[in-house]
């Protein structure tokens, strides 16, 4: 059951990329960035007010974490520009490579105060399969 839910989350992620891509097509990159973040801000503000949620920090956190939205804008920028030019499938596949590389670096060096997790050399096997998959996807072929 929860396995199906995990897959459904993946579906939601792609639908989000698709929606944001459609917004970029209609409004352009810079305006779509504003619309997406304004919508989320207003919806969550309404939700949190309705819930009478507290904004007081429960525990001390690094103040730099409050800027999480800034790299988020760059992320949405990359998302909308790639999805509208190389398509969803290719963007998702290449995004996976970026995720694997970045999370391996973060884990290996224990960045962001996370526990160090040394990279396992055996995982080169899976990574090779992933790169082969991307090569097949990008294989030059007659325009269909």
């Amino acid at each position: 059951m929860y396995q199906a839910s995990a897959m459904a989350i993946g579906t939601l992620i792609t639908l989000m990329l698709f929606a944001n891509g459609a917004l970029q097509t209609a409004f352009g990159t810079s305006r779509s960035l504003v619309i997406i973040h304004a919508t989320g801000t207003v919806v969550l503000m309404a939700f949190l007010l309705a819930q009478r949620a507290s904004f007081k920090a429960r525990e001390h956190i690094n103040p730099f974490l409050y800027s999480a939205g800034a790299p988020g804008v760059l992320l949405v920028f990359f998302n909308v520009t790639t999805v509208t030019s190389i398509g969803l499938t290719m963007s998702i596949a290449l995004g996976l490579v970026g995720q694997i590389v970045a999370s391996s670096v973060v884990d290996h060096y224990g960045l962001f105060a996370l526990e160090k997790r040394r990279a396992n050399i055996k995982k080169v096997a899976g990574f090779a399969l992933i790169m082969a998959g991307i090569a097949v996807m990008a294989w030059p072929r007659a325009e269909s």
């Binding site: 409004f27 790299p71 995982k123 998959g133």
Partner: protein, 163 residues
Amino acid sequence: MMYLFAVLAGCLVVLSMVMNSQLSRGVGVFQGVFINFAGGLLTSLPVYFLYLYFGWEAFAETSPSTPWYAFLGAFLAIAIVASCNVVIPKIPVVFSAVLIFLGQIVTGLILDAVMAGSFDPYKAIGALLITAGLFVNAKIDAESDRADAAVGTKPEAVGIGPG
């Protein structure tokens, strides 16, 4: 160039996920997402004015008709965060990444085919290979976690791996 952008997007997903999960631990899940969106709005407005000032983007006089679903992105983002909080703790972490990716890529294949009006078998075969590769690595992770548990070192199972 776009290939590089797509890979960088993946790197930013990791950065974003780490920052947001630590932020949420401090202020609450939805408060964290709110701070994320509000900070995003504060960042995207100057970006928009830069675009305007330098004329990087030509805006059409009459905007083309916008499909209704184009405005759902932010709602979906909130739904994703909410469902991750319910689902992820209930399945082994290493495999949740594989399952989420599978859902993502299958939906991507379907939507790409619908948009292009034709199905691309190369992309499907590629997706299959990538999923197999992810699965192999998830297996390796699961094994090394078990080995760690056997020696008594605490397995840090909550990786931030792909998802």
